[in-house]
Symmetry: C2
Subunit: 150 residues, 2 copies
DNA sequence: TATTGTTATACTCTATAACTATA
DNA sequence: TATAGTTATAGAGTATAACAATA
């Protein structure tokens, strides 16, 4: 790579930069592999949480995915139009709607999951299995770090 | 957090998701702190590479930051209009332009660097110094993993 | 009063293609 | 023929505010 020498910059030691670059690589690949199933990274994430009986409300999806509630509306609309999820009334709060995967949604998710596993494997090719485990643990900690007002 | 139970989902174990969430937290904070200097994460990154005598071409910036060359044009335009960088002719190739920070740019970068260090410290609050070192090493590996055609 | 989902709007970021000047 | 920078355009992602129904 002709830009290799830029790794001598201070920027190359900033986590924020490394994270942005890793995510650019990872999401480009994941989006490419997911498009065979009519999904992108964000819609896949919503679908994944709608599967397995978790029954999240839209508000919980927004918080967990760090997306604005209005974005969840659009993503659920899209998945619902494709017949992959349903909005169900929340018995405990009539304001809320619970998002549930249809049979087709569960099946699509199962297939798409294979693609994201492939993408992850490619993105982490430079790491040993032990290193991958460590990375996952550290990333989990920072992904769920409360930031003062969070 | 009312969505905590969604950590039981398979999604919560996917690196791509953890990365997206960590980056959302990190870049929101970094953008907030950088705005006092008239910068955002992307313009800061270009400025950082223009500092310290690295003399990157626009093409090298594009490759290193994984941005399209046309995006570099806009970012350099913006930094140039603010008097923070200059385009200089590349003696070895008249097609290329070398991006160099002005004195004002070096000074702005030095101040902005303090903010990104604060943002990083907040984002990594849950990790020990040793864990931060490990994370940086692992992230460096995956951020510079060649992906087949890359 | 506060919260859930919704609509609307604007802005930032990303992706592509085509053009020019140089190599 | 290929590459560096540029322009243009469209689409995806992000951020904010306001509203109706419900708590």
């Amino acid at each position: 790579m002709t830009s290799d020498r830029l790794q001598d910059s201070g920027l190359a030691r900033e986590i924020e930069f490394l994270n942005a670059r890793a995510r650019s690589i990872g999401s480009a690949l994941a989006n490419e592999l997911l498009q065979a199933h009519g999904l992108r990274v964000r819609s896949y994430s919503v679908l994944a949480l709608a599967c397995g009986g978790l029954r999240p409300t839209q508000r919980q999806l927004a918080e967990f995915l760090r997306l604005d509630p209005s974005q969840i509306v659009a993503l659920v609309d899209e998945l619902e139009a494709a017949g992959l999820v349903r909005r169900e009334p929340d018995p405990s709060d009539r304001r809320s709607k619970v998002i549930v995967a249809t049979e087709s949604g569960e099946s699509t998710y199962a297939q798409a999951r294979i693609e994201t596993a492939r993408a992850e494997d490619a993105a982490l090719a430079a790491l040993t299995p032990a290193e991958r485990t460590v990375l996952r643990e550290l990333m989990t900690k920072i992904a769920f770090t409360p930031l003062g007002e969070d």
